[in-house]
Amino acid sequence: MTGCEALVIGGSAGSLEVLLKALPVLDVTLTFPIIIVIHRKHGADSLLPDLLSSRTRLRVKEIDEKEAIIAGTIYIAPSDYHLLIEQNRTFSLDYSEKINYSRPAIDVTFQTAAEVYKNKLACLLLSGSNADGVNGLKTVKRWGGLALIQDPDSAQVAYMPAQAKLHVEIDEILSIENIGEFINSLK
């Protein structure tokens, strides 16, 4: 992909360890933002950004609503809100019904990001135990973006990437070891 303008990563059970392995590999000169949507328990807010920022020299922050999206930053979705991307490339939050039993739902962020970044978007779905993210990846494909999954065989919980593999035409299937380098190759 050329001219990547955003990477959105969605994950659930078993995805944290993947991020902890991939983040140290990332170039500090990353030319696009990384937006991370992880299912987690409401109230455990402050720990995740700290944990992830200990693994990278890139700026890591939990998202504030209406915040402008800046390249070279790793953004973490807050717990218990859906995360949406606006056409003016800011974040907005939404406390509507859970989707796939989840809030944030990966589908919502993938879908709204697809409409904004179109064929300049890459979305990566990691380990997890429900089908969240699958519909989102379909939308990403429809807008010409790149659909990526963690290799289900390497996933702690294979269901989520396996569902995506089953229902979506996936561009790249990545082992845990290759994720960091692949992200660096997106320019």
């Binding site: 209406k66 056409q87 907005s92």
Partner: protein, 273 residues
């Protein structure tokens, strides 16, 4: 959900229809969320075409009501964010308790879960008799539900846990009677509530309050509208009164920030001049 069913231009058309034909101004709302809600409703109601959908919103008043109810987010719970309600219980309401009379505005109250939560705390602090809670929403349908004070029984376990985590010490089930699948909250709790429609976008200040709560409403507005609504709250708040927002909302970057001092560790600000 087929996210491509409604495009940005069609959203803009509907928003100008709403303003022109019904006087409801949604143009300052965050677009991504609004578009999702509209697309969802379009799919749910299986409109034959966009033209038919649009025609019904303009001309069919009962469908227009449904449209407004469905495109606004009305999800809420009792004692959501228990730490917030603990601060209300331990600090904010006791400070206001020294006043002869407490006027509270709950803006964007939706189906009323927060109004009943506040009422329970006021009662336990022995302040309910001298308080008034003005619970407003732009949407008359949710206000009718709020006034009934009936919530799903299936939620009571969660609400009871929230209540205890927020510092409540009573048996939560004494506040309602079970009626099949619904929990009917005690009449006393709503004796000091006034329900009224109020649109934060277009309606003006209507009273002066010591406490204004507006939690998880501003997230649906763009920055300009947020600032406009914060000005409205500032006009409506007495000196030394409190303004409470949602966990991810802030008055930072707004014109009114300089008049307020934040209550530490909470999204609560006190008006200092």
């Amino acid at each position: 959900m087929d996210i491509g069913a409604i495009n940005d231009e069609q959203v803009e058309l509907l928003l100008s229809d709403l303003l022109e034909h019904h006087g409801y101004d949604f143009t300052g709302y965050s677009k991504a969320s609004l578009k999702r809600r509209i697309t969802r409703l379009y799919g749910l109601d299986k409109a034959l075409s966009f033209a038919e959908f649009r025609y019904k919103i303009i001309n069919d008043n009962s469908y227009f009501k449904r449209f407004v109810e469905q495109i606004t987010v009305n999800v809420t719970e009792m004692f959501r964010d228990p730490a917030f309600f603990k601060t209300l219980r331990d600090d904010v309401l006791p400070a206001l308790g020294t006043y002869p009379f407490i006027r509270i505005w709950l803006a964007g109250c939706s189906t009323g879960e927060e109004a009943y939560s506040i009422s329970i705390i006021l009662k336990e602090l022995n302040l309910l008799h001298k308080s008034l809670i003005y619970a407003t929403d732009l949407n008359p349908v949710v206000l009718e539900k709020a006034a009934q004070g009936m919530f799903a029984m299936s939620q009571m376990k969660q609400y009871s846990e929230n209540y205890i985590a927020s510092g409540g010490t009573k048996d939560f089930s004494t506040y309602y009677t079970a009626n099949y699948s619904l929990a009917k909250f005690n009449e006393e709790l709503k004796s000091k509530m006034i329900f009224s429609t109020h649109n934060l976008v277009s309606d003006h200040s209507f009273n002066e309050f010591q406490l204004i709560l507006c939690r998880n409403v501003l997230i649906y507005f763009d920055r300009d509208l947020q600032h406009q609504v914060l000005d409205l709250f500032n006009e409506s708040l007495e000196e030394l009164g409190y303004l409470a927002l949602g966990t991810k909302e802030t008055i930072d970057f707004s014109n009114i920030a300089k008049y307020y001092k934040r209550v530490p560790a909470n999204k609560i600000w006190r008006k200092i001049k």
